[in-house]
């Protein structure tokens, strides 16, 4: 069932620009060329009954309910598969049409139960609607549902149930899995009355290839596929458009609520980023917002070894402010700082950095982008002139070649992956550069033309080798590069990459990628004609993360693949608002809009608006804060929505730093790992509890709308305002729209953004200003933002983290579809049905050498620490490389990772850690030892494992 406020037009909108005028039931109607008759009728306000058609899927022409008469044409064409034509005369109602439709629906009803009154779809069933409209009250042919009766219901999926006896075999679910999701997990097995929807090879949904995106459930016209939650809570009564709080795709969703309870989450078909699609997290995994673990009262304690004490908001805010004032008075203004959150809204991150800079008088503000895409910001700013991706997601539909580097979209950015798969199935070429065999390397109807399975840590070696081929084989677009870029830097770069040391043959020994494969990939990328690069944290989370981003920009500039649709450099951002958090001035060296704090004119602008004297020196980054805490010069930290202890590398180092501080304030939904070392806990609010905006990976600003009151009484922006007030710096906003107005006044790339415009346009891609009042889908058109593009020399420098005889394997990390980052949200949902622990992927050869079998417990040791988890023996890995996720705190993955970081930004090198893996006979002993090592620094007032389970 689609959203309760969706008016279905039957077939998708055509891509054409021209129009056609026709006659429908005596009225003249003008519609876009290529429109189906069914859609034209709906656009004109009419209605044709239908069963197999819905406007998210291509016309199928199967049910034969939508028949019409067209003057001059024989028979009764199906209106869904018939395109409009100029002068066409369509008749949608006549006794003959009604008779035919009635007969067809009667046949459907003959094989469908007639107990509508007790059906969960009662009132929302398209078969019921069609039968009522046509006056079909029963069937002359059979007892309703005879052939399907008794077929076992499949309730294996935690979020939806499949009732075969309610299925009318319209194939909408199968087509949704094919066209919308691209997984092709569903099929119709059997023939005639024996036809059945089947997941994979007649498996339960949970065990099948189904990825639980829910597209099939939404497409189902009856209750054959039904969400479980509305069955329990009742039908929703209202739909509120908002934006997903998970990954950087930023799907537009409709939260369907009954009173203040969210009953369903349905992707918005008008959503530009997701075009009516969602993934298992966005559509289903919202239960964390009302989970029993939510903390609803502020808490304080003098020491982290003390038990928490619940207090009023007033006391918590007052205590925090007094502590910050005391610490600044004793240790100086730069002894404190704040962290903004990529999970919070633009308005909230803007307020936190404003509080730090204006109320606390320091630039010690940073954000979780430090540990993911800070290298993107630096690399793209220096080469192209703007710290953001260059394209809209839809651009991929015009790409001829897609180079995917260090990203796994089917797991990390599933809705974009669906769009990418559509393009690949249309014939675009895919190049994958990744140490693992990710799903896209080979998946139904898709196979990468080249998979460069490099050793972790050798990205720069590979990008240089690709560039070497482009330049030395004469494949560069010299005319473009000379015109659009700094000629001297281009020529220096050409000479640099042309050197024999950067050839694929020379680099093969370093990267492990056969030279011939690199040459093949370089030729494909250069040939385009539209070649696009998409990349993820496999690029940035390295000691040469920034170098690699620059290398990517270099090769895109050299081949002319920037400044139009179908090309570009697109970082796939991890969190819902990581782009926005960066845009809002969350980094310690720059104000909103990426303007350095040392720039006097910019600083003066902010000083005037904020009525405060602002510091001109860059502040501390997160890892620098930890170092400063350990030397005693940094004593207090206000952390909004970030779990350092779980997410940051070298956990013991992080814990030591936090333990050394005098006042750590955590503002979050749950008692996260970092809260163990906090003195103040301020309850946070989920994305359902506030108004604001998120900015996704394509720079798209979308509205977040409140659908329920904050469980703890205050939205996050209100908490920050109260803290500012208590610090003696009152802020005066009555609604987040007023914060956005201030952002727009102070930020050139946001000058034209208002809530009113967001309402009108739906969403806006920045820059949005006088030059681009409706936003900018594609950047660098005609010229780069910095003027001329700048090439940087990107020498490959091996990381200091290398495999040795003691630590012979390289560990790299990532995430899975069903869990999200540190799992704070998804661990508190039914997504645990798919993954309830982190596991270590290890190649069969490495496993055999160590006597490890699939499912065995293994201990993983690096120079910084140990962890223990189960092994998955998998050929996704190459020998010498192991892989795990970091969703579960009890795994302690970041006990093992090191403090190595990117040279330019200190983005941690999560992707390369030298380890040894051994089979563990008694995992409990390992776990006890690891807990004991960590426990020395833990608060006894909290349980030892703040996990998804009820003990938390």
């Amino acid at each position: 069932m689609y959203s309760i406020d969706h008016k279905d037009l039957g077939t998708p909108a055509p891509a054409s620009t021209g129009t056609v005028t026709l006659d429908i039931d005596g009225s003249t109607v003008t519609v876009p060329a290529g429109t189906s008759v069914m859609r034209a009728v709906a656009l004109a306000g009419g209605h044709i009954p239908k069963l197999c058609a819905t406007d998210s899927l291509k016309a199928f022409g199967s049910c034969r309910v939508c028949l019409v008469e067209i003057e001059g044409r024989k028979g009764f064409p199906a209106s869904c598969t018939t395109e409009v034509a100029a002068g066409m005369k369509v008749r949608t109602q006549s006794p003959r049409i009604q008779k035919l439709r009635r007969g067809v629906v009667e046949l459907y009803v003959s094989d469908h139960p007639l107990d509508c009154d007790t059906c969960p779809a009662n009132g929302h069933c398209e078969l019921q609607d069609a039968a009522a409209e046509l006056g079909v009250e029963g069937s002359r042919y059979a007892n309703g549902g005879a052939s399907q009766r008794g077929v076992k219901q499949d309730a294996s999926n935690p979020y939806f149930v499949f009732n075969p006896d309610l299925c009318i075999v319209c194939s909408r679910c199968v087509r949704a899995c094919d066209e919308t999701q691209g997984t092709l997990a569903l099929t119709i097995e059997g023939r005639g009355f024996s036809s059945r929807v089947s997941a994979s090879q007649h498996q339960p949904f949970l065990e099948s290839e189904c990825v639980s995106c829910g597209a099939c459930v939404e497409a189902c016209p009856t209750a054959a596929l039904t969400e479980k939650l509305p069955l329990m809570l009742g039908a929703p009564t209202k739909a509120v458009s908002t934006t997903c709080g998970y990954c950087g795709v930023g799907c537009s969703l409709k939260a369907e609520v009954k009173e203040e309870t969210v009953v369903r989450m349905v992707p918005n078909r008008a959503g530009t980023a997701n075009k009516g699609h969602a993934c298992v997290k966005g559509r289903f995994a919202f239960g964390y917002a009302t989970h029993a673990d939510r903390v609803r009262r502020p808490m304080i304690r003098k020491r982290i070894t003390d038990p928490w004490r619940e207090v009023s908001w007033e006391e918590a805010i007052s205590y925090t402010a007094s502590e910050f004032k005391r610490i600044q008075q004793k240790y100086g203004p730069n002894s404190v700082g704040g962290i903004t959150s990529s999970r919070c809204t633009n308005e909230e991150t803007f307020l936190v950095q404003k509080l730090v800079r204006a109320a606390l008088g320091t630039n010690n503000v940073d954000t979780c982008a430090r540990v993911c895409h800070s290298a993107t910001g630096y690399g793209l700013k220096h080469t192209l002139g703007e710290s953001a991706g260059t394209q809209a997601f839809t651009s991929v539909m015009k790409a001829d070649v897609v180079m995917l580097i260090g990203a796994n979209p089917t797991d990390g950015h599933p809705v974009f992956a669906s769009q990418l798969k559509r393009r690949l199935r249309q014939g675009a070429t895919l190049i994958v550069i990744d140490p693992r065999v990710i799903d896209l390397v080979r998946t139904p109807h898709i196979e990468a033309a080249a998979h460069l399975q490099l050793r972790p840590g050798t990205n720069v070696a590979v990008i240089n080798a690709l560039a070497h081929v482009v330049v030395t084989e004469g494949l560069a677009n010299d005319a473009y590069a000379e015109e659009r870029c700094e000629g001297d830097t281009y020529r220096k770069w050409k000479a640099f990459v042309s050197d024999a040391r950067n050839s694929p043959e020379a680099m093969e020994a370093i990267s492990g990628v056969p030279a011939a494969l690199v040459r093949k990939a370089a030729r494909m990328y250069a040939a385009g004609p539209n070649s696009a690069i998409y990349y993820g944290l496999g690029v940035t989370e390295h000691s040469q993360g920034t170098t690699m981003v620059m290398g990517i920009a270099n090769i895109a500039m050299a081949t002319g693949n920037l400044g139009r649709e179908g090309v570009g450099v697109s970082p796939l951002r991890g969190q819902n608002n990581v782009q926005g958090a960066c845009d809002m001035g969350s980094f310690p060296h720059e104000f909103s809009g990426y303007r350095h704090v040392s720039d006097a004119a910019t600083r003066s602008l902010f000083e005037g608006a904020w009525n405060a004297t602002l510091a001109s020196e860059p502040g501390l980054r997160i890892p620098n804060m930890f170092e400063a805490a350990l030397d005693g010069s940094f004593r207090a930290l206000y952390i909004q929505g970030e779990d350092f202890v779980h997410s940051d590398p070298n956990t013991n180092h992080v814990v030591a730093a936090l333990s050394a501080m005098e006042c750590v304030v955590v503002q979050d939904l749950f008692l996260i790992e970092t809260a163990r070392y906090a003195h103040v806990f301020l309850p946070g609010s989920s994305f359902l509890e506030k108004d604001g905006t998120f900015t996704n990976a394509e720079r798209r600003i979308s509205r977040v709308r409140k659908v329920m009151e904050p469980l703890a009484g205050l939205a996050d922006w209100e908490v920050t305002m109260q803290l500012a007030q208590a610090l003696g710096y009152p802020m005066h906003y009555s609604h987040p729209s007023e914060i956005m107005d201030e952002i727009a006044r102070l930020t050139p790339t946001f000058h034209g953004v208002t809530y009113e415009k967001l309402e009108r346009l739906g969403s806006i891609q920045w820059p949005c200003n006088d030059a681009a009042p409706d936003g900018t889908p594609t950047m660098h058109v005609g010229a780069f933002v910095r003027g001329k593009g700048k090439f940087y020399l990107t020498e490959y420098i091996a990381t200091s983290e290398r495999s040795t005889s003691r630590f012979p394997l390289l560990l790299t990390t990532g995430r899975v579809l069903y869990q999200y980052n540190v799992g704070t949200q998804t661990r508190r949902t039914a997504n645990l049905a798919w993954q309830e622990e982190d596991r270590l992927d290890i190649h069969p050869d490495d496993a055999e050498d160590r006597g490890i079998a699939d499912g065995d417990w293994v201990g993983v040791t690096s120079r910084t620490g140990d962890m223990v988890m189960r092994a998955v023996v998998s050929r996704r890995m190459t020998p010498g490389v192991v892989y795990t996720t970091f969703h579960f705190p009890e795994s302690g993955v970041n006990l093992v990772t090191t403090e190595n970081s990117d040279w330019a930004t200190n983005c941690p090198e999560y992707k390369v850690t030298a380890v040894e893996v051994v089979r563990v006979g008694q995992p409990e002993a390992w776990q006890a030892r690891i807990r004991a090592e960590r426990g020395a620094q833990r608060s006894p007032a909290l349980p030892t494992a703040c996990s998804h389970r009820d003990e938390c």
């Binding site: 730069n334 630039n363 010690n364 220096k492 640099f496 000691s543 920034t546 170098t547 310690p588 060296h589 350095h596 040392s598 020196e617 860059p618 502040g619 501390l620 980054r621 620098n624 170092e627 400063a628 350990l630 030397d631 010069s633 020399l793 990107t794 020498e795 420098i797 403090e899 970081s901 040279w903 330019a904 930004t905 200190n906």
Partner: protein, 68 residues
Amino acid sequence: MNVERLVAMVNDIAAFFASEPDADAAAEQVAYHLQKFWEPRMRSEIQRCLEQGGVGLSPLARRGVERL
């Protein structure tokens, strides 16, 4: 601040700019990066390290720090 860590960081920065053929320009770029992205106490600490002999600093890192 952990001086060893700061030395490693500035050496990494210098290693990136070492590709620049003009040695003076490379040192200038190292210094510029430190000024733009390092908090003052970090710069002070690395300068103090240099004053005490600059143990562990690469030649280019040393020249960069000298320009602060």
